[in-house]
Symmetry: D2
Amino acid sequence: MFRYERPVRFAEVDAARIVFFARYLDFCHDALEALFAALPGGYPQLTMVRGVGIPSVHIEADYKAPLRYGDTALIDVSVERIGARSVTFRHALSRGADGVLCASIRQVVVLCRLDELAPVDIPDDVRALLSQHLSLP
Amino acid sequence: MFRYERPVRFAEVDAARIVFFARYLDFCHDALEALFAALPGGYPQLTMVRGVGIPSVHIEADYKAPLRYGDTALIDVSVERIGARSVTFRHALSRGADGVLCASIRQVVVLCRLDELAPVDIPDDVRALLSQHLSLP
Amino acid sequence: MFRYERPVRFAEVDAARIVFFARYLDFCHDALEALFAALPGGYPQLTMVRGVGIPSVHIEADYKAPLRYGDTALIDVSVERIGARSVTFRHALSRGADGVLCASIRQVVVLCRLDELAPVDIPDDVRALLSQHLSLP
Amino acid sequence: MFRYERPVRFAEVDAARIVFFARYLDFCHDALEALFAALPGGYPQLTMVRGVGIPSVHIEADYKAPLRYGDTALIDVSVERIGARSVTFRHALSRGADGVLCASIRQVVVLCRLDELAPVDIPDDVRALLSQHLSLP
């Protein structure tokens, strides 16, 4: 599991004063960018130099409690499945202060060459990194 | 069914030059705000004056093709189910130029008083509006 | 002068429930994208096909009144100056309902080849379009 | 002076693959939120509990070099002037890797009660905090 922590920002809430539902996906991507930082050059080098990225093909999100300005979000990322070219992540977003689970998000991505968005086999170093965060069966 | 059309904006793509996966949910909300404009005062009056909103509790998104800068997105919203306090929307996002389906998104919302995020029965005028966009069984 | 109109969106306000100060620049860019739509293929063709864009080099913004959710923003764009390679825009953002001026923004951009961000002379068709919106002296 | 450091995120660049000009103001606000974290409860408590915020009334931004995905932004905030009710900040945004100055931004804010957006005298603890970051004359 990989934990990423970040405060909710002043502009991330909506007119109802809770974090806008689309922003939760931004939080998940922030966590993934942090997870990939363990590779040399991180996600920037993977995407911009090696030309490989992880476009999402499927998202399932269950929203359970609001996040508000002043909350810190904890995003716990685990890898549920590593296929030949696809990866399934689980993100558990909780509030730092009381540990309340705010959202549970399942994200399926496909490794792709970004120039033509064509699927590619997961590179070995990416597979090794992801394997470190595999959730136990 | 309700159709909402909007161009992709210059800042809505990511470093891979495709619309960022979280933005698709922003597009869906734009469409819902437009759909609710049929009520007097629209979604602003519903939320800010009457104090009732539609926080999401569940999202399922299938991404099928990219949207890029220069594309116009068509968002076709239909109402799949109207419960006592919850509504299920279906959003089909397609590219204006060629009609290719880019994403299919199912969104379940719960009508809530926004001050305390407590569920409420769907107001009659909201139910009547949503009924106009019910998908046929 | 070129007028662009758009509602404030639910997610564009911040925790103080007013449009976040950075979003005003997004509004200005939305207006410019609409202004450039008068060219064949619009701003997407100019930037993505011809490879020419308008990075900002200078912004001056005076914020005078808040925009809130439910407001419609009117953005009145005029061209103050057209140089060899630079353009100065004036954006007056006002509230649709009462015409109150919310912000006055001066934006200087330089025409650039986007691949290397190198300044280029303003193409003739761009100059002709901008000339239509020149403010009178 | 107060230094805040953050990576450019994957979704913060635009179709030209450089950080969108409006995002620079988001970066500045991130830095201010971090600066105010030195107060008990930070900026969330100041705004949401004490009801006092710092709406911007004036921005001047000079953009000098692009930020791209993979860059880390250093935001150096200094306080240029503390008035009775207003504060002038200077933000120098530079690239972490080579120290190149990317933007210089001057921001004038007015301390306000957020419920009615009415100016208030700068609270003593806020003044004390800001004084620590006063630039030397």
